[in-house]
Amino acid sequence: MSENGMTGNIFYFARSEAKATTSTAPETATAQARLVESACAGDREAFGEIYKLFAPTVHGIVLAKVPRDEADDITQNVFLVAYKNLHTLRNRNAVGAWLVTIARNLSANFYRAARPTEELSEELSHQDCPHAEAREILAAIRALPETYKETLILRLVEGMTGPEIAERTGLKPESVRVNLHRGMKMLRRKLGIEEKE
């Protein structure tokens, strides 16, 4: 993906950041703000900490939209763009929501850019890929509504808990809980799993 295409969305990033509902705990928010300030000052280790903290979240958001093979690269690109534009972040406590917005935009840009693709052979397509059942489950999750699929991927694929998802994405814990519960219900219906009470 060209850098011009990435940096061209900077205005959208800055505007979208204001929409996120920040629900992080005060201590966490302060720690994140400190990391962002250090990274803005040029501290690469601080930015490395930001990456470790938010890479699974970004990867999960990207995986909800793009093919698995592209998700890792796009995740790296998200942080490259974030590093270049970190000085434009107005609310230092909302870095998670900001990164999520960049991830969504770059995932959308992935489909806008027309790419010639070649179909892999059966053998190659199964190399380094999880079992077929796993791919079916992932496809079923991707077919869910936007809010449910992102939350479920963060929970089931990236292994994050509900409070962690709320903290990293900037959503309210109540919203995350509702999304998880309703998303799981819809997923069970799609996969034909009976719901146990």
Binding site: L156, V157, E158, K196
Partner: protein, 213 residues
Amino acid sequence: MKNDYLWDKTGKDPEIEKLENALRGFRLQKTAPPALATRILPFKKEPARKIFSFALAAACLMFAVTALGIWLQISRNRTQVAGELAEIIAPQNNSDFSLQPNFAGTKDSIIKKQKNVKAGEAEIPKRISKQKIAPVGKSAPAVLSRKETTAKNDRAAGQNLKSLPQNARLTGEEQYAYDRLMLALSITSSKLKLVRDKVQGIEEQNSNLENGR
């Protein structure tokens, strides 16, 4: 309890655990951050200002050209009107007046104006007597050219013009020229407005970015 496990992994839920195990292969593999640039280039604002200055210069040039055209047209019209007025008034007051028309007016338009002037005929001689329109005589030139029309004659002609009826002031050609001028002015003002809106939009974006810092 199932809901608790889904929320914060407390308790047990075999179904969810099975899904987690199946999907674990899709988890993020690269744990190292991307290679970062050694130097970050500052955010550039100049292109917006270059666009702004170019647009402003283009708008100013367009406006200047239009204004020049309007000024030339008005001065031309004024001269024509003064010439027509002299042509209308002169035959009534002095038979020695034999000003030849030096503008693109027709006989019919002059006759029409003479008819329209009848109502104010009594006033005209008084005003004209104060004018210095050179009669055709021994020392005066036979043809009153545009160059010989002085500023005072223009003012006097303008004063008399006000006393004339409305429909005698502009000919068809003059009205057409006037309409075209108004149209050009309106087009220019709309383009200037577009440039102003665009510049304001760019300035707003720049101020938003500055606030983001």
